[in-house]
Symmetry: C2
Subunit: 250 residues, 2 copies
Amino acid sequence: MILIKLGGSIITNKEKPLSARRKTIEKLAKSLKKIDEPIIIVHGGGSYGHYWSVKYDMHTKEKKYDLRGIAIVKNSMIELNKIILDLFLKNKLSPYCLPPTDFMMGNKPIQKKIKEITKIAKSGLVPVTYGDALWFGQKKTYILSGDKIMTHLAKTLKPRLVIFALNEDGLYSDLRSKKLIYELKGEQPSISENKMDVTGGMARKVEEATKISKMGMNVFFVNGNKSERIVKAVKNRKFEGTLFRGKKNV
Amino acid sequence: MILIKLGGSIITNKEKPLSARRKTIEKLAKSLKKIDEPIIIVHGGGSYGHYWSVKYDMHTKEKKYDLRGIAIVKNSMIELNKIILDLFLKNKLSPYCLPPTDFMMGNKPIQKKIKEITKIAKSGLVPVTYGDALWFGQKKTYILSGDKIMTHLAKTLKPRLVIFALNEDGLYSDLRSKKLIYELKGEQPSISENKMDVTGGMARKVEEATKISKMGMNVFFVNGNKSERIVKAVKNRKFEGTLFRGKKNV
């Protein structure tokens, strides 16, 4: 089983509020269709969820956020999700939408529900989930990022390969020269800041990817604009991006 | 707490595939806004979900249905749901979308998740769920009707009043004369058949409403085109529709 995150920066134009990159999503769908293994898709919020989260000052911390803000963030994520579902369907994938409320209770993942997701994927359907504003309890809500969902799912489902599709070739040892790190072995990659991202941007992705690789799984950062690289990585032909090699620290 | 079902026949034009009745939904939203108690909304599939369920021969029975059919039925429900969420938002309600996968595991309701829905409603958000195609397990799926969801939610949450908004004034003792039954006391209402409805139409609604009233709750069938009648019923001013009076059979 392959767990794939479609980053908000690749499926939307992060510079422009509420703009989905439909052609990129279609190309991604066409590549995903070529994968013969069960896949699970997680997507980010990009210029949908993040745009509104910033406007309503909502974060990953549990708090009593504005009710209207919650409703608007959630609605914008459904809108982005619907675009992805439609384009998946158009490209012969059979998506099965699972907003994260399916497998979360407060801020805790529900193991039984997460285990069911693999079964859904193995039936031939493609489970699709996403970062979202979620009910926490005691009148509080929070933003659950797609990256955090990746860790929750990876931990329980132990996918053969975990992929983050980004708007970059991978991690760079130097941002200016864009020198690609093919395999991250403890060094500190050069990362830019993004104020539009309430869930932590690239630094957060590196953090979650490191956690997952420490659980023993290979994690691969790849350029989603070159979606054939995803197929190549899945088929073990070539890893053109940054690999976090899985190591069990037993 | 008030539990309200917006029937597929009222929020869509059942005669015409994939046609939402936006003006009716807006009027309903405006009336719902006038209710001072926590409310939970369930909606049906109408000419969205039912249209595709019929096309792909999908029913409430758990079976290995066509994967593409599942994806298409689900997608159409997200589309209809999104229209409702948007119009709720536009009319100053703060919807909180909970597709039924949130509180279902196979075909069993998850009590802990259902209990959380009241808390969400009490925070001021309006939980919105709907009839949907759902994963059952062992590669099987099934259609969970909005009416069935009403029974699941009522059983656990014991709302003060349960309302079904229909495209009729209520139940009739005679379909031709449209003589309204103001209170159903065991008699057999006159019900028409609808082949477009894979989840059982009016007969199913009567069945679920009877179950709920036997659990001790008042159930009220009302014409959703006259949405002020919902407000009047909630405020105990007038019940212009059909009432199933709640009786505990202890």
